[in-house]
Structures are given as C-alpha cells and as structure tokens.
Symmetry: none
Subunit: 525 residues, 2 copies
C-alpha cells in the first residue's frame, strides 16, 4: 500500500451519526466489504469500548473481514484527565480492538476544552501526548483528529498550532484537521491548512462537513494546500448536512487532479458500490449525487439533445462509464425530435429511418404532456407509444377491457372495505372477476390478476413496487387532474408507467394496464 | 434596488430542467412570489416563444405578479444564423414578454459552435452582437449567459475572451460565465474568472452546476475573483446533479462574507420558503440541505449531547434561527413538548398551565407521526387535536359519521362514473345522501355537503382549494400508507388538514371531515 496519500472512510463511525441511519454489526461488515472494493486505504469501523456494537464489529472483523486494500481504524478519545493512558479502560478497548490504526479525537478549540471538557489547555495537550505515546508503544499506528480545529484556530491559533505540534512529536502519523461544525468556506480553510503545514511541518489530513455546502471543495482545497489524508463518508452520510462525500472526492481527485487514489477498475464500480451501500443502509439514494446518482447524467433540455446527438461529451463533464454510471435521455415537453430519437435508440428502436413516425411520436408526446402526462419517469409508457406509432411494430393487446368498477366503503362498525370488479376479454373469452384490496388500486390490481392470471401465468412474477401520485394544477381542489406513476418489477428489471385522468382511480387503472401490458410484452419476448 | 451585486434566480428556467420536475404556470407564479419574498433581485421566468407555458407565464405575470424586490428576466437565444435580430420570431417573443431583462444564451466554446450550432465563430459573435444591440435599442436590459464558458476557455481562450468583449461592447450589462457541464473545481475556476476580468474589464457573473459537488464553492470563489452576479436555483433544482443552490449561496454570502445580498428579515424566512417551494414542486425536500434542511441542525446522541447542553453554539456553525430553522436533539422527546407548547401559543392556546394535557398532546403527536401523519403543514388538524386534549376546551361534533361508500366505474361505453353515499347523524337527524363527482374525493365532498348543507348553510362558503397526496414507504407498491393534505378556504382564510390511511380514499375522507369540522368551527365562532 502506498502511504503517501490516504483515502480514509468514516462511513461506519461519523457517517452513522446521520439522522435515520442505524447500522447493525452485519450491516457494518457488508459496507466495509463494499468500501474495500472501492479501494479506500482506511475504514474507520467505530468506537470500540464506547459503543458495544462497535466492539463487536472489531471482534468479528478479525475473522469475517478479509480486506484487500483497506486497513481498519478504531476511533476513540484520548485518556481521561484523571487517569494514566495505560489505565484508562476506554484506551484499553482501542488497544484490544486489534485495529492496526487508532484514530484519537481531541479538542483543538480552547473553548471546547474549557466548556465541554472542563480541564486546562495544558492537561488537554498532556492527554494527547500520553495517549499517542502509549498506543505507539503498544504497536498501533496513531492518527489524531483535531476536533473543531478551524474554529479553534480562529479563536486561539497558538493553542491550535501547539496541539498539532504535540500530537506530531508524540508520534502521531498525521493530524486530521476537522471542520467539525462544517461552517468553513474554501479560501479561508485553504489558508489555514497552508499556515499549519508551514508552521508545524506536521503531516496533516482534512475532515469536512457540509454545513456550508462546501465539504467537497474544502477537502480539495486542503489537499492543494498540502493535506495528504482525506476523510469522508459514502453517499455523504453524516450528522446534520452530512460528511464530505467520499465518492465525489475520490472521483474528483482521480479524474480531475491526476491523482491515482483508487484502482481505475474500482472507480468503474463506484456507482454500483454507492447503490449497494444504500441498500444496506435502507436510505433512498440521493438521485442528484455527483458522479453516482441516478440523475447525474440525465439530460432533459431540448437544446441539449441535438448537441448530445452530435457528441455526448459536449454536455457531460466526464464519460459516465468511468464511474460505472449511464447517460439517460429524459423525454419531456422541452424535448424535440432529437431527444425522442435518442431516447428511442436507448430503448432499442431506430427511429431515424422513419421520419413520419418520429413526427407522430413527437406530436403525441407533446399532446399528452399538455394534458399532464410526463414520460420522463415512465419509459415503459413511452415504449408502448413507440410501438403504437412505429411502422413495422405493433403494440400487442393481451386483453381488452370492457368495464371496471371499484367500491370503497367505511361500514357502520368502522371497518373498511374495498372491492373491484373487472370485465374484460382475453384470448377469446369474456371474463368477470372481483378482487379485494386495502385501497382501490390494490383491489383493481388483484381483480386484473384474477381475470388474466390463468391465461398469463407469467403475471405472477410481476409486482408493483412503487406508486406515486401528483395532483396537477392544484388550484382547483379535487377537480384537479391526477398523474399516477406506477413502478413494476419482474424480479430482475423495473419499469414505470404513467396514467393521467381527473379521477385518481381511473388514472391509476390506466397506469396499471400499461404496467401489465409492458410486463407481459417483456416476459413473452 | 442596489445593482452592484445581483442574486439571480433561475429556478423557473434552468431549475425546471430537473428530472421529475414539471411546473404549471400557476406553480411558476407561486414560486416567483416565494422567491420575491426571499428578496432575490432577479427571477428568470422561462423561455417565452420556445415553451408555450413560459409565454403564458410572462403574459399572466404582467397582471398577477406584484413583485416587491425582484425583476423578471426572460431567457432566450441569440438570433438565428440566417436572420436579422429584428426579424427573428424567437427574439420577438423575448421582446414581447415585456420582461425588463432578457438573458441571452450563446455558445462560448468553439467546439459547440462548430458541432452543435454548425456555424462559424465569427457568425456566432455577430449573432451575439446583433441581438444584444437590437434588444438594447428596444429598451430591454440584456444579460448574456456564456454557455460552456470554462471548457471553452480551456480549449480556445482567444475565442472565449473575444465572446465576452463582443457581448460587453454590444451593450450587455454583464456576461454570466457558465460552467454548463458542472465539472469545474474551485481553484481552477477562480483563476479563469480572475483572468477574464483582468483581460476584458467586463462585468461578469457566475452560473454553476454541481457535477463535481462544488457548485456552491465555485460560485463563492468566482465572487471572490470579482464576479458581481450569481445565478442559482431554489433547493438546488436543476438538470443532472442540479444547479448551484441559491439558498446556500445567499446564506454563505450574508452570514460568512459580510455581504448584504437579501434583507435580514427575509433570511429568517428562508427555511419556510424552501419548504413552501418543495410543496409546489411536490419534490420531497432534501433533509440534509445546508441551512434550510430538516436535518441541518439535528444533533444525534453521543459526545455532542453534553456540549450542546453547555452551549448550543459549540456544535453549530450558525444560530439556526437566523435562517428560520431549528436545532433538534434527536434523542430528546422533551424537545417535542417545547415546540408543541410554542406551536400552541402560536395558535392561541396556552398549554404551559396544563402539563398533563401537554404530555398527552405530545404523545398523540408522536404516535400519529409514527404512522405517517405530519402536522407541519396541517395546522387545522393540530388545532383539533389540541381541542380534544386540552382541559376546558371541547372539539365540537357538528356531525357523526355512520358510514360511507364510493363507487368508481368505467362503463362499457368508456364513460366514467363516480358516486358517493354518506350516512351520518346531525342535529338529531339521521341523514343519507349521495353525491356525484369527477373522482372519489369530489364525490364524497359533494355527498357530505348534500347531507349537512341545509343544517349548516355556512358550509356553502367553504371551498377545497388544494389536495396533495404523498405515498409513504414507497417500497410496498399499492400497500403503502397514503398521506393526504387538503387545503380549504372560506374566501378569507385557508387551513390545511391531514389524513393518513393505507386506503387513499379513506385518508382523503378523514382529511375532508377535519377540513369541514374546522371550517364550521371557524364560521360559528
């Protein structure tokens, strides 16, 4: 491992402070494997001794984690004010974690020493010195997190600089300067980092939070100023506005700063890894996340589409394949024929040879969007529309709906009921079925499956996985038009369909019929 | 208005390019009013002539938008290569928008001129010169967006600089340098901005996207380098990873750069405004958004807790009240009681004298929020809850529901029907009525009015003005829980009620009953 520059992940420790994030030991092991797959140098696993789950993580890691690139770091505090480092049970837990690295946090801001720690500045420095010396002697590498460093430097630069000198002289490999409250801006932060390195000669790292929306930029500016160790969290997890996004930092360094911080082939796994970690944390991925977000390379604008057709790199800062992501064209009212042609190509239809069909499709999209349809998020409905209009293709009719009815009621005893009846024709038969559900759409879905499930047994593989409702033109109360988006899965792939009607139940039914039609089409082909 | 520094909002134009965002004209008018309330100097309303909805927006804005701070800007392209500016219909639409400002976009990157525009660099510069000159002569102020400026400067600095000179000499007030693909990093971007100002002497602005996660920092660095006009979008809406977050930029400038860019009292409205815009766009707010996010000042248990107790500012970069946000301690349910007491006081109920009622209310809110209720936007439902629990008050029962039923159907001839039956008791009578509607909620509303309209004639004054649906826990398809928010007006005031159920019709019914109950309560008192 090249030690000259560190990518240090703190997802499992500082990232876990995010609101709504709760990780089990098994979750932590899964995430650590993903991070190792990305090629980070260090994974901060938690705080053994203070958090029982983290003690357990380090215990299980010894047998269950076979890391290729990364080394584990145990996070903890310096010794208490009234104990020798060797006698402090919290320090003992750090030793016993058997992590090759211990990252000690200590207060570099005088006000925090006085108000929160309630000890003297000299004692705080002694705590750093003793604990670093002790752990080094016991054979662990020590990094020091200088908590609140930047605010501390602003209030009392002499103490902040002395903190760095003491830690370095005691044997810490590096001192990570922490913008704990996340309020710094890049120029000011870069100046402080440069001064610290000038004055102390110590190796420094950088740890940022996003409270000013500058965590990634602050990290980059610190690295330009001489920091050779950068901390961050996967998917920008973290307390408040989150930690610096490790993925964005790594991609920026590797692709825009000519620094080789992870293997190139791992970089191509970054999008998959980001999503895999989201699966473990059960926090919906932020679609607009740089590089790895679902929307990160999604193009909507009409004026962009024709240029993208000429050369995709005209409207992309990098080739999305480098980070394992994809370009996507969104079909919208702002899109002209060029983006419909591109979108068609993405879906496997060459529309360039049929200008008339392209014009018909563009017009239908325009008309439908004027009534509130949106195909941006409904590729399957768009594909069915292409099949309708493109010469030589045909949209299959697996069934023809005659009528449907839903009854929703709350009875005198307070119980609720919901029942749907569907009348349709399929494979020459006229079929009437009913279905119950916990809501009107669920009941209609059940009735439809009851109706055609025996004729199309593959329908059993389809599952509705998401259902979104948007009321359009909210000025008219319940008179408004309703747009429903339904996402359906066959276990391997997902697709989305759209329905628009004044009546929410009718809108849902239209989206449902398209969802099932598209699903049968996929499964039959 | 102080023209020396511009806060220029592009939510309604570039922000609307965000995947999943589709704004009606009414939505755009609502958002413009919110942005004006924040005190931005300019609101880019859209592209009249190219997008029919945007033409309509500028038409309606003339009579329906009464802006206090902001001026409207119409976005558009320079003349076509083969037309005079005066004869170009797209340019005519910009004139006819009657917007005091026109923002012309043109290509500052030679490759784009050649590959996308397919004309010569000289002709492109002539298009800029002619169109700026023409619009200036016609009495509009002109800003120029130099598209792809930074990539263009890297590839062909002579052309990029000439572009700026030509636009400035033709009479453009400023040239906004656009990082259209969003791939720039702060140090490199700042250097280019500084050089452009040195070499051309032109007034420049900055327009960033977040593809490298540096949009906010890039904007700040450009301002440090001399840019005096900054573009951004509310809630960082925008294509791909989004535009630079206007809220974060404004707060950073005002609170950390000593620049007075919006009124201080507007800054305190920023959190409310950010959430109000989310309601209009129906895009769930990003909880980790700097300054205004729900989690932006949320502290989780741990080493922070005692320090926060000693002094909250030890762990906050600013006082959240300055931007209208709140600190939240995620461990403490007591924080909930404090805010319930405050909220009660806001609604006119002194809960401090009744600790038991306060506890009961806090517990019911906690239980209801655990099932998906949200009282943040439903004051009327919250007030009814207070009336239930506070000693000495009583929630009036204007009617008692026995049962209800809705039938929604699509008949064989394709027509749709929707009919609701309501059975209830009011003023000693048992009443059964039916109502028809264009959807289940409209039918229930009609049936309810038919049932009690004669007993409570004041009901005629109430009108449902908005209806919002959010599906919670989207993983379970149509099994999900549904939250409905209904806004009702009596012509003078508006109030919102909430209903949560698995069944969307039942959720709507609950919100409807609370809306009518609250309305009768107001009208009777």
């Amino acid at each position: 491992m090249n030690d000259s520059f560190h990518v240090y992940d703190t997802t499992l420790r500082d990232g876990a402070q995010q609101e709504g994030l709760a990780l089990s030991v098994a979750d932590k092991l899964l995430i650590a494997r993903q991070l190792d797959g990305l090629g980070v140098g260090f994974i901060e696993g938690g705080w053994p001794g203070a958090i029982p789950k983290d003690t357990e993580f380090f215990r299980r890691a010894q047998t269950e984690l076979d890391l290729e690139h990364a080394q584990l770091a145990a996070f903890g505090m310096t010794r208490r004010a009234d104990l020798k480092a060797a006698d402090d049970p919290q320090v003992a837990a750090l030793r016993e974690s058997r992590a090759p690295i211990v990252t000690l946090v200590a207060k570099a801001h005088d006000r925090h020493v006085e108000l929160a720690l309630r000890t003297s500045l000299d004692e705080c420095l002694a705590m750093v010195r003793d604990t670093v010396t002790h752990l080094r002697a016991e054979g662990q590498r020590v990094f020091v997190d200088a908590e609140h460093f930047f605010n501390g430097y602003q209030d009392n630069p002499a103490y902040a600089l002395e903190f760095v000198r003491v830690a370095a002289e005691a044997g810490a490999d590096l001192i990570a300067l922490c913008d704990t409250n996340g309020g710094m801006l890049p120029t000011e932060l870069g100046d402080v980092v440069r001064t610290v390195i000038d004055r102390t000669g110590a190796r420094v790292g950088i740890h940022c939070h996003d409270d000013s929306g500058c965590a990634v930029a602050n990290s980059l500016v610190a690295i330009e100023a001489g920091a050779t160790h950068v901390q961050g969290a996967a998917n920008a997890y973290g307390e408040r506005t989150g930690n610096a996004n490790l993925f964005t930092i790594v991609a920026n360094l590797q692709l825009k700063k000519n620094m080789h911080v992870v293997p190139d082939e791992s970089l191509a796994e970054m999008t998959r890894i980001a999503h895999a970690i989201s699966e473990v944390t059960n926090i919906a991925p932020h679609t607009k996340q740089p590089y790895v977000g679902f929307s990160a390379f999604a193009h909507k604008a009409g004026i962009h589409a024709s240029a993208v057709k000429a050369d995709p790199m005209l409207y992309q800062h990098i080739d999305p394949a480098i980070v394992g992501n994809d370009m996507r064209m969104l079909v919208s009212e702002m899109a002209g024929r060029a983006s419909i042609e591109l979108k068609g190509r993405e879906l496997g239809y060459d529309l360039s040879g049929d200008r008339e069909a392209l014009t018909r499709i563009a017009e239908r999209v325009k008309d439908l969007e004027a009534t509130g349809h949106s195909f941006e998020a409904a590729d399957a409905s768009f594909e069915l529309l292409i099949l309708d209009e493109l010469n030589g293709t045909e949209r299959p009719e697996f069934f023809t709906v005659e009528s449907w009815r839903v009854i929703v009621e709350q009875r005198e005893n307070g119980t609720q009921g919901c029942e749907a009846t569907v009348r349709l024709h399929a494979k020459g038969e006229r079929i009437i079925t009913v279905g119950e559900g916990n809501g009107p759409v669920n009941a209609l879905d059940t009735a439809l499956r009851n109706a055609i499930g025996q004729l199309y047994p593959e329908l059993a593989e389809l599952e509705l996985t998401d259902y979104k409702v948007r009321i359009l033109e909210g000025d008219h109360g319940t008179d408004s038009r309703t747009r429903v988006l339904i996402t359906t899965s066959d276990g391997k792939n997902e697709w989305a369909t759209v329905g628009v009607q004044e009546n929410i139940v009718a809108a849902s039914w239209n989206a449902l019929v398209e969802a099932v039609t598209y699903g049968l089409l996929r499964l039959e082909s």
